[in-house]
């Protein structure tokens, strides 16, 4: 028999009432988690002294029926735990609580939708008293939908219909703070389910709703970025979280983009295995490039390029430093592929606007030769396998060789024959076959793409 089946204290509706009451009385709850019954004792002891605040505050203001139920079933704090704006829900009540929340929500939502349609139909009737009666009951139903959907979403984070019902209620409102409350609820859901796609999507919906109508969008965007950082620290390589951050970039000002890039550089340096955080930097840097092209088109000045040139140079140097410090990290090498590719295409050409695709590639630019010499040096220093016992060194060598091959394939038309021959000279492929022979079929194919035999 499942553990949940053992629950026999009180009926599920009481549980739902209790949960909704706690949420009502402590609107600042910022973290929720499911805890095993055995953890309650430890939590209460750790906190020391009287039972958690929720029960005390709840009892003061609760209406009589809720009050008695709370004192009956939660008297030993074995179901809910609420202190310092943290909420714990016992795993033993999850099933009955979920079922109660779902039924309450589905019923309220159905009634609300029906009522809403009716009131739309009646709209034209012109009967004032009927209209006001409808709008009163509509308000009551709205409150029910909001209350039950909140409880449900704390138990089932991707219950799309519950998120939608909130959007439906909110879409007619113009009251700004209500939208901020949605960001809080979404953050609360993300505290127990940081990958919840619906919770992230709800944030974007809210931001799209208020963008253009609020004066502090920049501030909201900054807070969003900060939230992603916080969540990314606990939930590694969280695609949904970072995707949200990338999405925010289009709402940032030019200054904010630059600020984000520098503000979070140290963070990235501490999370060198998180490919998403480097992709985020890619996104920011490409946005800078786009902006600078636009400025050039408007002003015709190439001077605006100087700043971005510097940013690129610094990122390349920083990345090289990280590569040398942390052996065998794929994300660092992939970031370098991006940095180098753009460097070659946009900065390392002698003549301004010279396209890589022009037919006059008899000589390679001076900058290019210097740049590629440096990359070749990096490859050589990283491909000397210092210690065969450690997989990391082998990976390091493989990443360095595939880096050179990849770059050569991508920019071969910019490279002139001499440079290409110098780069390839068989070295990367020989190394790959030595270190990782089992992938020989792959190295053959990839080598073929770059014109090396």
């Amino acid at each position: 028999m499942s553990e949940e089946g053992l629950y026999c204290e009180g009926d599920p509706l009481d549980l739902l009432n209790q949960l909704e009451y706690i949420l009502e009385s402590d609107p600042l709850i910022d973290e929720v988690g499911f805890i095993h019954p055995s953890q309650f004792v430890a939590l209460n002891e750790e906190a020391g002294g009287p039972p958690p605040s929720s029960v005390g505050t709840v009892l003061q203001s609760a209406d009589e029926s809720v009050k008695s139920k709370i004192s009956n079933t939660n008297v030993l704090n074995t179901v809910f735990w609420n202190r310092d704006h943290k909420l714990g829900i016992s795993t033993k009540v999850l099933l009955p609580l979920y079922n109660a929340a779902k039924h309450a929500f589905m019923a309220a939502n159905e009634q609300y939708k029906m009522h809403k349609n009716l009131s739309v139909e009646r709209d034209g009737s012109g009967n004032g008293s009927v209209l006001s009666c409808y709008s009163t009951s509509l308000n009551i139903l709205e409150t029910q939908v909001m209350k039950h959907s909140r409880a449900l979403l704390l138990l089932s984070c991707d219950f799309g219909t519950a998120w939608n019902s909130r959007k439906l209620v909110l879409s007619k409102k113009q009251h700004f703070p209500i939208f901020m409350d949605e960001l809080l609820l979404s953050a609360l859901v993300l505290s127990y389910s940081p990958k919840s796609e619906s919770a992230w999507s709800h944030r974007r919906w809210v931001i799209k709703m208020i963008a253009g109508k609020c004066s502090n969008l920049q501030e909201i965007v900054e807070k969003e970025s900060e939230l992603v950082k916080k969540i990314a620290e606990k939930s590694k390589m969280n695609y949904r979280a970072w995707n949200h951050r990338c999405w925010l970039v289009s709402y940032m000002s030019g200054g904010q983009v630059l600020h984000e890039l520098s503000k979070y550089r140290d963070w990235a340096g501490l999370h060198i295995a998180d490919n998403s955080c480097f992709h985020y930097r890619t996104r920011l840097m490409l946005r800078m490039l786009e902006d600078s092209w636009q400025k050039q088109n408007v002003n015709g000045c190439s001077g605006c390029n100087f700043e971005i040139h510097q940013v690129w140079k610094e990122e390349l140097d920083w990345n090289e430093m990280l590569i040398k410090r942390y052996i065998g990290r794929e994300a660092l090498w992939l970031h370098r592929r991006f940095l180098s590719l753009c460097w070659i295409k946009h900065f390392a050409t002698d003549i301004h606007d010279a396209s890589c695709h022009s037919d006059h590639k008899t000589s390679t630019s001076h900058d290019m030769v210097i740049f590629m010499d440096n990359e070749l040096g990096l490859f050589r220093s990283c491909s000397a396998i210092l210690d065969n016992d450690f997989e990391d060194f082998q990976s390091h060598a493989i990443f360095s060789a595939t880096y050179i091959l990849w770059l050569t394939k991508q920019v071969s038309e910019c490279l002139g024959i001499e440079l290409r021959e110098k780069l390839l000279a068989g070295e990367p492929k020989t190394l790959l076959n030595k270190v990782c022979l089992e992938k020989a079929f792959l190295w053959d194919s990839l080598g073929g793409l770059c014109g090396c035999i």
């Binding site: 099933l95 390589m237 946005r287």
Partner: protein, 313 residues
């Protein structure tokens, strides 16, 4: 290397459908339509679809249809493209697309195309290349691709291509093997694969294979059976599947089986679920594992089902 435990997987799938007494299973009820697609397609690939009562499935699917024409993840749930495709795919498995008012379903999908060619997942406007794939795949199965602006849809997908050759959810989004599948699948169905640098994307995709033979979905991630589908199907569509070690991948998938109770997990020794069971079996089908029906890499349906739809019986 072990063998594919066909009988046990069938038993597992049939059992999972009936589990309703624990929190972990009821909390997934909002996406039951996806679960039905994963489970039933797996059964079909294993040659065991006849163990299921067709009428029961079809009438349940039809109960999930919303007045808008779209389908919800379960009875009484809001419609979304994610569940609309699964519904159409499930009906296709049973050769029951004819029970649909295809015009109504197609109008729902076409109504979600935005001016820039992208698709929203539902009326609330979240945009993602996954929804582009779903719309295109679904409309193609319903013979109604003419209801959308295909050119614009393709243009939007191409705008989500990254410098590494992969694709993200929206322009500038990080490359992810799941999104790559969606974009390559959509481009393949619309005959637009020429927009892809096959060598560059193939390079990125084959770098997803890790030492154990399994595939990951992004750099630095652990391998996961579901990417046997997302990565492999993409490699097949762009004709670069010979760049990975197929034998090692077969072994990795087989190592993720629960040999006692059936089912496949994300990695060896983890807990199994119907999602990974489907992707494991589908991956093996792409790898031409003996005894399995062939699966179509773009439509994610058995080849005989796709042929039935496009070429008649």
């Amino acid at each position: 290397m072990g063998e594919l435990e066909v009988e046990k997987h069938v038993k597992y799938i049939l059992l999972v459908e009936k589990r309703k007494d624990d929190f972990e299973s009821v909390v997934m009820e909002h996406l039951r339509m996806n679960g039905a697609y994963w489970g039933l397609t797996t059964l079909d690939l294993l040659g065991k679809l006849e163990t299921v009562d067709t009428e029961e499935v079809v009438s349940w699917v039809m109960k999930c249809q919303h007045e808008s024409g779209g389908f919800g993840g379960n009875v009484g749930h809001d419609p979304h493209l994610l569940y609309t495709l699964s519904s159409v795919q499930v009906l296709a498995l049973f050769d029951k697309i004819n029970v649909l008012d295809t015009d109504r379903v197609s109008n729902y999908i076409a109504g979600l195309q935005n001016d820039d060619g992208s698709f929203s997942g539902d009326m609330w406007g979240e945009v993602d290349t996954r929804f582009s794939y779903i719309a295109i795949c679904c409309l193609s199965l319903l013979h109604h691709l003419d209801k959308i602006n295909v050119e614009k849809a393709v243009k939007y997908i191409v705008s989500c291509k990254n410098l590494d050759g992969g694709f993200g959810c929206t322009p500038g989004g990080e490359s992810h093997a799941g999104q790559v599948f969606c974009c390559v699948g959509a481009l393949s169905i619309t005959g637009s694969l020429h927009h892809i640098d096959k060598d560059l994307l193939g390079w990125w995709l084959c770098e997803r294979q890790v030492k154990s033979g399994g595939l990951n979905g992004r750099p630095e991630k652990l391998p996961d059976v579901c990417y046997s589908w997302w990565v492999l199907s993409s490699l097949i569509m762009i004709d670069r599947v010979h760049w990975i070690d197929k034998e090692k991948l077969v072994k990795f998938i087989l190592d993720c089986q629960d040999k006692e109770n059936g089912g496949i997990s994300d990695r060896p020794d983890d807990a199994v679920d119907v999602y990974h069971t489907y992707f494991g079996v589908a991956g093996l089908s792409l790898l031409e594992y003996p005894g399995l029906k062939a699966i179509d890499p773009a439509y994610a349906l058995p080849v005989d089902v796709v042929n039935r739809i496009f070429f008649g019986r």
